[in-house]
Protein backbone atom coordinates (compact mmCIF):
# COMPACT_ATOMS: atom_id res chain seq x y z
CA UNK A 1 0.00 0.00 0.00
CA UNK A 2 2.70 2.48 1.04
CA UNK A 3 4.78 1.50 -2.06
CA UNK A 4 2.03 2.51 -4.46
CA UNK A 5 1.47 5.85 -2.76
CA UNK A 6 5.20 6.57 -2.78
CA UNK A 7 5.37 5.89 -6.53
CA UNK A 8 2.33 8.09 -7.17
CA UNK A 9 3.80 10.81 -5.02
CA UNK A 10 7.14 10.77 -6.85
CA UNK A 11 5.42 10.86 -10.25
CA UNK A 12 3.35 13.82 -9.12
CA UNK A 13 6.47 15.60 -7.87
CA UNK A 14 8.20 15.20 -11.24
CA UNK A 15 5.12 16.53 -13.06
CA UNK A 16 4.92 19.55 -10.80
CA UNK A 17 8.65 20.16 -11.19
CA UNK A 18 8.40 20.08 -14.99
CA UNK A 19 5.44 22.45 -14.94
CA UNK A 20 7.39 24.81 -12.73
CA UNK A 21 10.37 24.83 -15.08
CA UNK A 22 8.23 25.34 -18.20
CA UNK A 23 6.09 27.95 -16.50
CA UNK A 24 9.19 29.77 -15.36
CA UNK A 25 10.66 29.85 -18.86
CA UNK A 26 7.44 31.17 -20.33
CA UNK A 27 7.20 33.88 -17.73
CA UNK A 28 10.81 34.92 -18.25
CA UNK A 29 10.25 35.20 -22.00
CA UNK A 30 7.05 37.16 -21.54
CA UNK A 31 8.83 39.64 -19.23
CA UNK A 32 11.13 40.54 -22.16
CA UNK A 33 13.06 43.76 -21.85
CA UNK A 34 11.78 47.29 -21.38
CA UNK A 35 12.81 49.52 -24.23
CA UNK A 36 12.56 52.70 -22.19
CA UNK A 37 10.62 55.90 -22.70
CA UNK A 38 11.71 57.23 -26.10
CA UNK A 39 10.24 60.66 -25.42
CA UNK A 40 11.93 60.81 -22.05
CA UNK A 41 14.41 63.63 -21.62
CA UNK A 42 18.11 63.24 -21.09
CA UNK A 43 21.43 65.03 -21.14
CA UNK A 44 24.40 64.44 -23.40
CA UNK A 45 27.65 65.21 -21.59
CA UNK A 46 30.44 66.15 -23.99
CA UNK A 47 33.76 65.60 -22.24
CA UNK A 48 35.64 67.47 -24.98
CA UNK A 49 33.79 70.65 -23.97
CA UNK A 50 34.01 70.51 -20.18
CA UNK A 51 36.66 72.81 -18.70
CA UNK A 52 36.18 71.73 -15.08
CA UNK A 53 34.82 75.07 -13.80
CA UNK A 54 32.51 73.29 -11.32
CA UNK A 55 29.68 75.76 -11.94
CA UNK A 56 27.32 72.78 -12.30
CA UNK A 57 28.23 71.71 -8.76
CA UNK A 58 27.51 75.22 -7.46
CA UNK A 59 24.17 75.42 -9.30
CA UNK A 60 23.10 72.02 -7.97
CA UNK A 61 24.11 72.98 -4.45
CA UNK A 62 22.11 76.19 -4.58
CA UNK A 63 18.93 74.87 -6.16
CA UNK A 64 18.79 71.65 -4.12
CA UNK A 65 19.54 73.67 -0.95
CA UNK A 66 22.43 71.36 -0.06
CA UNK A 67 24.82 72.03 2.85
CA UNK A 68 27.66 74.52 2.38
CA UNK A 69 30.71 72.94 0.74
CA UNK A 70 34.01 72.56 2.59
CA UNK A 71 35.84 74.42 -0.12
CA UNK A 72 34.56 77.11 -2.54
CA UNK A 73 33.25 75.84 -5.84
CA UNK A 74 35.99 77.69 -7.68
CA UNK A 75 38.69 75.90 -5.69
CA UNK A 76 40.27 73.48 -8.15
CA UNK A 77 42.36 71.68 -5.50
CA UNK A 78 39.41 69.31 -5.05
CA UNK A 79 40.52 67.58 -8.24
CA UNK A 80 43.58 66.31 -6.37
CA UNK A 81 41.48 64.67 -3.66
CA UNK A 82 41.51 60.89 -3.65
CA UNK A 83 40.01 58.36 -1.28
CA UNK A 84 40.60 54.73 -0.35
CA UNK A 85 44.38 54.96 -0.77
CA UNK A 86 44.20 56.83 -4.05
CA UNK A 87 41.90 54.33 -5.75
CA UNK A 88 38.80 56.48 -5.79
CA UNK A 89 38.10 60.02 -6.92
CA UNK A 90 35.35 62.20 -5.49
CA UNK A 91 31.89 60.68 -5.58
CA UNK A 92 28.37 61.95 -5.04
CA UNK A 93 27.18 62.10 -1.45
CA UNK A 94 24.36 63.53 0.62
CA UNK A 95 25.76 67.05 0.28
CA UNK A 96 26.65 66.89 -3.43
CA UNK A 97 24.42 65.23 -6.02
CA UNK A 98 26.96 65.96 -8.71
CA UNK A 99 30.75 66.22 -8.72
CA UNK A 100 33.29 66.88 -11.45
CA UNK A 101 36.46 64.78 -11.51
CA UNK A 102 39.68 65.37 -13.44
CA UNK A 103 41.52 62.70 -15.40
CA UNK A 104 44.96 63.26 -16.84
CA UNK A 105 45.72 60.70 -19.54
CA UNK A 106 49.33 60.60 -20.74
CA UNK A 107 50.10 63.02 -23.53
CA UNK A 108 46.72 64.73 -23.40
CA UNK A 109 45.16 67.75 -21.78
CA UNK A 110 43.18 67.02 -18.63
CA UNK A 111 39.68 65.67 -19.18
CA UNK A 112 36.90 66.49 -16.75
CA UNK A 113 33.92 64.26 -16.16
CA UNK A 114 30.77 65.28 -14.35
CA UNK A 115 29.27 62.53 -12.22
CA UNK A 116 25.58 62.36 -11.25
CA UNK A 117 22.75 59.86 -11.49
CA UNK A 118 22.63 58.64 -15.09
CA UNK A 119 18.89 57.96 -14.89
CA UNK A 120 18.99 54.45 -16.36
CA UNK A 121 16.11 53.23 -18.53
CA UNK A 122 16.06 50.09 -16.37
CA UNK A 123 17.49 51.25 -13.08
CA UNK A 124 19.30 48.76 -10.87
CA UNK A 125 18.42 50.83 -7.79
CA UNK A 126 14.74 50.40 -8.63
CA UNK A 127 15.11 46.62 -9.10
CA UNK A 128 16.93 46.26 -5.82
CA UNK A 129 14.51 48.29 -3.71
CA UNK A 130 12.33 46.09 -1.50
CA UNK A 131 9.90 48.88 -0.58
CA UNK A 132 9.35 50.21 -4.10
CA UNK A 133 10.75 53.63 -3.22
CA UNK A 134 12.14 54.22 -6.74
CA UNK A 135 10.18 55.19 -9.85
CA UNK A 136 11.31 55.65 -13.44
CA UNK A 137 9.14 58.46 -14.79
CA UNK A 138 8.06 58.81 -18.41
CA UNK A 139 9.87 62.16 -18.46
CA UNK A 140 13.12 60.24 -18.02
CA UNK A 141 14.00 60.76 -14.36
CA UNK A 142 14.66 58.13 -11.71
CA UNK A 143 13.04 59.51 -8.59
CA UNK A 144 12.54 58.07 -5.12
CA UNK A 145 10.10 58.39 -2.27
CA UNK A 146 12.13 59.12 0.84
CA UNK A 147 9.15 58.55 3.12
CA UNK A 148 9.05 54.82 2.42
CA UNK A 149 12.83 54.30 2.34
CA UNK A 150 13.91 52.05 5.20
CA UNK A 151 17.59 52.77 4.70
CA UNK A 152 18.60 49.25 3.67
CA UNK A 153 21.10 50.68 1.16
CA UNK A 154 20.57 47.85 -1.35
CA UNK A 155 20.34 50.49 -4.08
CA UNK A 156 23.82 51.75 -3.19
CA UNK A 157 25.19 48.27 -3.77
CA UNK A 158 23.11 47.69 -6.91
CA UNK A 159 23.97 50.94 -8.73
CA UNK A 160 26.73 50.29 -11.26
CA UNK A 161 27.73 53.97 -11.10
CA UNK A 162 28.01 54.25 -7.29
CA UNK A 163 25.56 57.13 -7.28
CA UNK A 164 22.97 56.77 -4.50
CA UNK A 165 24.45 58.07 -1.25
CA UNK A 166 23.33 57.65 2.32
CA UNK A 167 22.52 60.51 4.65
CA UNK A 168 24.80 59.31 7.42
CA UNK A 169 24.66 62.71 9.09
CA UNK A 170 21.08 62.32 10.29
CA UNK A 171 20.40 59.69 12.90
CA UNK A 172 16.65 59.71 12.42
CA UNK A 173 14.80 59.34 9.14
CA UNK A 174 18.06 58.75 7.31
CA UNK A 175 17.43 58.07 3.64
CA UNK A 176 19.31 57.59 0.43
CA UNK A 177 20.02 60.77 -1.56
CA UNK A 178 20.77 61.31 -5.23
CA UNK A 179 20.12 63.52 -8.26
CA UNK A 180 16.45 63.38 -9.30
CA UNK A 181 16.76 65.42 -12.50
CA UNK A 182 14.59 68.13 -10.83
CA UNK A 183 11.61 65.97 -11.76
CA UNK A 184 8.95 67.89 -9.85
CA UNK A 185 10.40 71.39 -10.04
CA UNK A 186 11.73 71.51 -13.59
CA UNK A 187 11.54 68.39 -15.74
CA UNK A 188 7.74 68.04 -15.58
CA UNK A 189 7.46 71.58 -16.98
CA UNK A 190 10.00 70.87 -19.71
CA UNK A 191 12.75 72.90 -18.04
CA UNK A 192 16.42 71.83 -18.19
CA UNK A 193 18.29 71.05 -14.95
CA UNK A 194 20.14 73.89 -13.19
CA UNK A 195 23.53 72.33 -14.03
CA UNK A 196 22.69 72.39 -17.75
CA UNK A 197 21.54 76.02 -17.57
CA UNK A 198 24.68 77.25 -15.84
CA UNK A 199 27.24 75.38 -17.97
CA UNK A 200 29.26 78.05 -19.80
CA UNK A 201 30.62 75.60 -22.34
CA UNK A 202 27.37 73.89 -23.26
CA UNK A 203 29.13 70.68 -22.31
CA UNK A 204 25.68 69.52 -21.23
CA UNK A 205 23.04 69.24 -23.93
CA UNK A 206 19.47 68.76 -22.75
CA UNK A 207 16.82 67.19 -24.98
CA UNK A 208 14.79 64.11 -25.78
CA UNK A 209 16.96 61.03 -25.40
CA UNK A 210 16.29 59.97 -28.99
CA UNK A 211 17.32 63.41 -30.30
CA UNK A 212 20.46 63.41 -28.15
CA UNK A 213 21.52 60.11 -29.72
CA UNK A 214 21.12 61.69 -33.17
CA UNK A 215 23.12 64.74 -32.09
CA UNK A 216 25.81 62.59 -30.49
CA UNK A 217 26.31 60.45 -33.57
CA UNK A 218 26.39 63.54 -35.72
CA UNK A 219 29.11 65.11 -33.57
CA UNK A 220 31.20 61.95 -33.84
CA UNK A 221 30.77 61.96 -37.62
CA UNK A 222 31.35 65.69 -38.09
CA UNK A 223 34.53 65.85 -36.02
CA UNK A 224 36.66 62.87 -36.97
CA UNK A 225 39.37 62.29 -34.38
CA UNK A 226 37.72 64.34 -31.66
CA UNK A 227 35.67 61.53 -30.13
CA UNK A 228 35.86 57.78 -29.79
CA UNK A 229 33.05 56.17 -31.79
CA UNK A 230 30.78 55.49 -28.87
CA UNK A 231 28.03 57.24 -26.94
CA UNK A 232 28.41 55.85 -23.45
CA UNK A 233 24.90 55.21 -22.20
CA UNK A 234 23.33 54.49 -25.58
CA UNK A 235 23.41 50.76 -24.94
CA UNK A 236 25.32 50.38 -21.68
CA UNK A 237 23.33 48.77 -18.88
CA UNK A 238 20.21 48.79 -21.04
CA UNK A 239 20.60 52.49 -21.85
CA UNK A 240 20.80 55.57 -19.67
CA UNK A 241 19.20 59.00 -20.00
CA UNK A 242 22.43 60.84 -19.20
CA UNK A 243 25.01 59.88 -21.79
CA UNK A 244 28.63 60.72 -22.47
CA UNK A 245 30.76 61.58 -25.50
CA UNK A 246 34.43 61.01 -24.76
CA UNK A 247 37.70 61.73 -26.59
CA UNK A 248 39.37 58.68 -25.02
CA UNK A 249 38.21 55.18 -24.03
CA UNK A 250 35.66 55.51 -21.25
CA UNK A 251 37.67 53.27 -18.92
CA UNK A 252 40.27 56.06 -18.82
CA UNK A 253 37.74 58.56 -17.50
CA UNK A 254 36.61 56.36 -14.67
CA UNK A 255 33.79 54.28 -16.13
CA UNK A 256 33.71 50.64 -15.06
CA UNK A 257 33.70 48.57 -18.27
CA UNK A 258 32.55 45.38 -16.52
CA UNK A 259 28.75 45.79 -16.33
CA UNK A 260 28.35 45.62 -20.14
CA UNK A 261 25.12 46.34 -21.99
CA UNK A 262 22.66 44.18 -20.08
CA UNK A 263 20.53 46.03 -17.56
CA UNK A 264 21.24 44.80 -14.05
CA UNK A 265 17.71 43.40 -13.74
CA UNK A 266 18.43 40.88 -16.55
CA UNK A 267 20.79 39.07 -14.22
CA UNK A 268 18.06 38.41 -11.68
CA UNK A 269 14.82 38.51 -13.68
CA UNK A 270 14.67 34.76 -14.50
CA UNK A 271 15.54 33.79 -10.99
CA UNK A 272 13.02 36.18 -9.45
CA UNK A 273 10.29 34.85 -11.77
CA UNK A 274 10.68 31.42 -10.19
CA UNK A 275 10.42 32.64 -6.61
CA UNK A 276 6.59 32.77 -6.36
CA UNK A 277 6.30 29.26 -7.78
CA UNK A 278 8.89 27.96 -5.38
CA UNK A 279 6.93 29.49 -2.54
CA UNK A 280 3.73 27.78 -3.74
CA UNK A 281 5.17 24.36 -4.46
CA UNK A 282 7.86 23.82 -1.86
CA UNK A 283 5.53 23.56 1.14
CA UNK A 284 3.55 20.77 -0.56
CA UNK A 285 6.71 19.07 -1.79
CA UNK A 286 8.42 19.01 1.56
CA UNK A 287 5.25 18.06 3.42
CA UNK A 288 5.19 15.07 1.07
CA UNK A 289 8.82 14.22 1.83
CA UNK A 290 8.14 14.62 5.50
CA UNK A 291 5.12 12.28 5.42
CA UNK A 292 7.10 9.77 3.39
CA UNK A 293 9.93 9.81 5.87
CA UNK A 294 7.53 9.44 8.76
CA UNK A 295 5.93 6.44 7.07
CA UNK A 296 9.37 4.84 6.73
CA UNK A 297 9.99 5.42 10.41
CA UNK A 298 6.70 3.58 11.18
CA UNK A 299 7.98 0.50 9.28
CA UNK A 300 11.24 0.48 11.17
CA UNK A 301 9.46 0.75 14.48
CA UNK A 302 7.20 -2.14 13.53
CA UNK A 303 10.16 -4.32 12.55
CA UNK A 304 11.91 -3.37 15.73
CA UNK A 305 8.89 -4.39 17.73
CA UNK A 306 8.86 -7.82 16.01
CA UNK A 307 12.54 -8.27 16.75
CA UNK A 308 11.94 -7.40 20.34
CA UNK A 309 9.12 -9.93 20.48
CA UNK A 310 11.48 -12.57 19.04
CA UNK A 311 14.11 -11.70 21.61
CA UNK A 312 11.62 -11.88 24.40
CA UNK A 313 10.35 -15.24 23.14
CA UNK A 314 13.98 -16.50 22.87
CA UNK A 315 14.65 -15.31 26.41
CA UNK A 316 11.73 -17.22 27.72
CA UNK A 317 12.91 -20.46 26.13
Amino acid sequence: MSGISRRKFLAASVAVGAATTLGGTKKALAAGSFSGYPDGMGVLVDLTRCIGCRSCEAACNKEQKLPDPNLPFDDMSVFDQTFHHGTQKRRTDESAYTVVNRYTPEGSDPIYRKVQCNHCAEPACLSSCSVNAYTKTKEGAVIYNGSVCVGCRNCMIACPFNVPAYSYSSAFGAVVKKCIFYHETRLKDGLPPACVEICPQEALTFGKRKDLLKIGHQRIQTHPGRYIDRIYGEKELGGTHWMYLSPIPVEEVGFDPRPGNEPIISHVKDFLGVVPMVLAIWPALFTGFHLLAKNQEGHEDHEHEIEQQHDEEGGQQ
Binding site: A58, D80, Q81, E94, G190, P200, F206, K208, Q218, R219
Partner: protein
Protein backbone atom coordinates in the same frame (compact mmCIF):
# COMPACT_ATOMS: atom_id res chain seq x y z
CA UNK B 1 31.72 103.03 -75.19
CA UNK B 2 33.57 106.29 -75.09
CA UNK B 3 35.92 107.56 -72.40
CA UNK B 4 33.15 109.58 -70.71
CA UNK B 5 30.89 106.55 -70.39
CA UNK B 6 33.70 104.44 -68.94
CA UNK B 7 34.49 107.14 -66.41
CA UNK B 8 30.84 107.43 -65.38
CA UNK B 9 30.55 103.67 -64.92
CA UNK B 10 33.75 103.58 -62.90
CA UNK B 11 32.57 106.42 -60.70
CA UNK B 12 29.24 104.70 -60.11
CA UNK B 13 30.94 101.48 -59.14
CA UNK B 14 33.27 103.39 -56.83
CA UNK B 15 30.35 105.24 -55.30
CA UNK B 16 28.56 101.95 -54.70
CA UNK B 17 31.60 100.49 -52.97
CA UNK B 18 31.99 103.55 -50.77
CA UNK B 19 28.29 103.64 -49.90
CA UNK B 20 28.36 99.89 -49.23
CA UNK B 21 31.33 99.99 -46.92
CA UNK B 22 30.03 103.06 -45.12
CA UNK B 23 26.73 101.30 -44.53
CA UNK B 24 28.59 98.24 -43.20
CA UNK B 25 30.79 100.29 -40.92
CA UNK B 26 27.76 102.20 -39.69
CA UNK B 27 25.95 98.96 -38.88
CA UNK B 28 28.92 97.54 -37.05
CA UNK B 29 28.77 98.18 -33.31
CA UNK B 30 31.86 99.55 -31.58
CA UNK B 31 30.92 97.87 -28.32
CA UNK B 32 28.69 94.93 -27.52
CA UNK B 33 27.38 94.59 -23.98
CA UNK B 34 27.06 90.96 -22.98
CA UNK B 35 24.74 90.83 -20.01
CA UNK B 36 23.06 87.44 -20.03
CA UNK B 37 24.40 86.33 -16.64
CA UNK B 38 24.16 89.60 -14.68
CA UNK B 39 22.92 87.89 -11.55
CA UNK B 40 26.26 86.21 -10.97
CA UNK B 41 28.63 88.19 -13.17
CA UNK B 42 28.98 91.84 -14.15
CA UNK B 43 28.15 92.57 -17.79
CA UNK B 44 31.09 92.19 -20.16
CA UNK B 45 31.87 95.08 -22.51
CA UNK B 46 33.01 93.41 -25.69
CA UNK B 47 35.24 95.73 -27.72
CA UNK B 48 33.97 94.87 -31.19
CA UNK B 49 36.22 97.47 -32.87
CA UNK B 50 39.37 96.06 -31.35
CA UNK B 51 38.36 92.47 -32.00
CA UNK B 52 37.47 93.11 -35.63
CA UNK B 53 40.88 94.64 -36.18
CA UNK B 54 42.49 91.50 -34.74
CA UNK B 55 40.41 89.06 -36.78
CA UNK B 56 41.49 88.20 -40.29
CA UNK B 57 37.97 88.58 -41.60
CA UNK B 58 34.42 88.72 -40.30
CA UNK B 59 33.72 85.05 -41.07
CA UNK B 60 36.06 83.96 -38.26
CA UNK B 61 33.26 84.86 -35.86
CA UNK B 62 30.27 85.51 -38.10
CA UNK B 63 30.50 82.42 -40.34
CA UNK B 64 28.72 83.11 -43.66
CA UNK B 65 26.36 85.83 -42.41
CA UNK B 66 28.45 88.91 -43.24
CA UNK B 67 28.77 87.98 -46.89
CA UNK B 68 32.54 87.69 -46.67
CA UNK B 69 32.61 84.01 -47.59
CA UNK B 70 33.52 81.17 -45.32
CA UNK B 71 36.39 78.74 -45.08
CA UNK B 72 34.68 76.22 -42.82
CA UNK B 73 34.51 72.87 -44.63
CA UNK B 74 31.11 72.15 -43.17
CA UNK B 75 29.56 75.42 -44.38
CA UNK B 76 31.29 75.98 -47.68
CA UNK B 77 29.17 73.61 -49.77
CA UNK B 78 26.11 75.82 -49.25
CA UNK B 79 27.55 79.16 -48.17
CA UNK B 80 30.66 79.75 -50.30
CA UNK B 81 28.99 82.72 -51.94
CA UNK B 82 26.24 83.60 -49.51
CA UNK B 83 25.10 87.21 -49.35
CA UNK B 84 25.21 89.31 -46.25
CA UNK B 85 22.18 88.65 -44.04
CA UNK B 86 19.91 91.35 -42.69
CA UNK B 87 20.86 90.46 -39.15
CA UNK B 88 24.34 89.32 -38.28
CA UNK B 89 24.33 89.58 -34.47
CA UNK B 90 25.24 86.39 -32.57
CA UNK B 91 21.90 86.28 -30.77
CA UNK B 92 19.95 86.14 -34.03
CA UNK B 93 21.03 82.54 -34.57
CA UNK B 94 22.47 81.48 -31.20
CA UNK B 95 19.49 81.71 -28.89
CA UNK B 96 19.86 82.48 -25.21
CA UNK B 97 17.49 79.65 -24.21
CA UNK B 98 18.67 76.69 -26.30
CA UNK B 99 17.04 74.12 -23.99
CA UNK B 100 13.64 75.68 -23.34
CA UNK B 101 10.75 73.47 -24.43
CA UNK B 102 9.72 76.06 -27.05
CA UNK B 103 13.20 76.02 -28.54
CA UNK B 104 13.47 72.22 -28.42
CA UNK B 105 10.19 71.78 -30.27
CA UNK B 106 11.27 74.41 -32.80
CA UNK B 107 14.55 72.58 -33.33
CA UNK B 108 12.76 69.29 -33.88
CA UNK B 109 10.88 70.87 -36.80
CA UNK B 110 14.00 72.65 -38.04
CA UNK B 111 13.95 72.71 -41.81
CA UNK B 112 17.62 73.60 -41.95
CA UNK B 113 18.74 70.08 -41.30
CA UNK B 114 22.43 71.00 -41.40
CA UNK B 115 21.98 73.45 -38.57
CA UNK B 116 20.91 70.96 -35.90
CA UNK B 117 22.90 70.95 -32.67
CA UNK B 118 23.51 74.70 -33.02
CA UNK B 119 25.06 76.02 -29.82
CA UNK B 120 23.19 78.51 -27.66
CA UNK B 121 24.45 82.05 -27.12
CA UNK B 122 26.52 81.29 -24.03
CA UNK B 123 28.18 78.27 -25.62
CA UNK B 124 28.87 80.14 -28.86
CA UNK B 125 30.48 83.08 -27.01
CA UNK B 126 32.66 80.91 -24.83
CA UNK B 127 33.85 78.61 -27.62
CA UNK B 128 34.63 81.50 -29.90
CA UNK B 129 36.26 83.73 -27.31
CA UNK B 130 38.23 81.21 -25.26
CA UNK B 131 39.11 79.15 -28.35
CA UNK B 132 40.76 82.18 -29.92
CA UNK B 133 42.22 83.42 -26.62
CA UNK B 134 43.95 80.09 -26.13
CA UNK B 135 45.50 80.27 -29.58
CA UNK B 136 46.46 83.93 -29.34
CA UNK B 137 47.54 83.89 -25.68
CA UNK B 138 44.58 85.96 -24.49
CA UNK B 139 43.05 85.65 -21.02
CA UNK B 140 41.13 82.41 -20.40
CA UNK B 141 40.28 82.40 -16.68
CA UNK B 142 36.61 82.90 -15.74
CA UNK B 143 37.21 86.10 -13.78
CA UNK B 144 39.62 87.49 -16.37
CA UNK B 145 36.51 88.51 -18.30
CA UNK B 146 33.68 88.14 -15.80
CA UNK B 147 33.86 90.13 -12.59
CA UNK B 148 31.71 88.36 -10.05
CA UNK B 149 28.80 90.11 -8.38
CA UNK B 150 28.26 89.69 -4.61
CA UNK B 151 25.58 87.12 -5.51
CA UNK B 152 28.17 85.33 -7.62
CA UNK B 153 30.47 85.16 -4.61
CA UNK B 154 27.71 83.56 -2.55
CA UNK B 155 26.86 81.21 -5.41
CA UNK B 156 30.44 79.88 -5.55
CA UNK B 157 30.73 79.91 -1.74
CA UNK B 158 33.91 81.96 -1.94
CA UNK B 159 34.11 82.15 1.86
CA UNK B 160 34.06 78.41 2.47
CA UNK B 161 37.05 77.62 4.63
CA UNK B 162 36.74 73.95 5.52
CA UNK B 163 39.64 71.64 4.83
CA UNK B 164 39.85 69.35 1.84
CA UNK B 165 38.88 65.74 2.30
CA UNK B 166 36.30 66.18 5.05
CA UNK B 167 33.93 64.21 2.96
CA UNK B 168 32.22 61.87 5.40
CA UNK B 169 32.21 58.30 4.23
CA UNK B 170 33.59 58.78 0.72
Amino acid sequence: MNAKQILTTLMMVLALIVVGSTAMAADMPEQVTIDTMVELFEAVEFDHDMQSELGEDCSVCHHHTTGTGTTDDRCISCHANSDELETVACINCHVSDPFSSEQLSRESQEIYQFHIDRPGLKGAYHWNCTGCHEEMGGPTGCEDCHARTPEGGVFYHKDATGSAGEGGHL
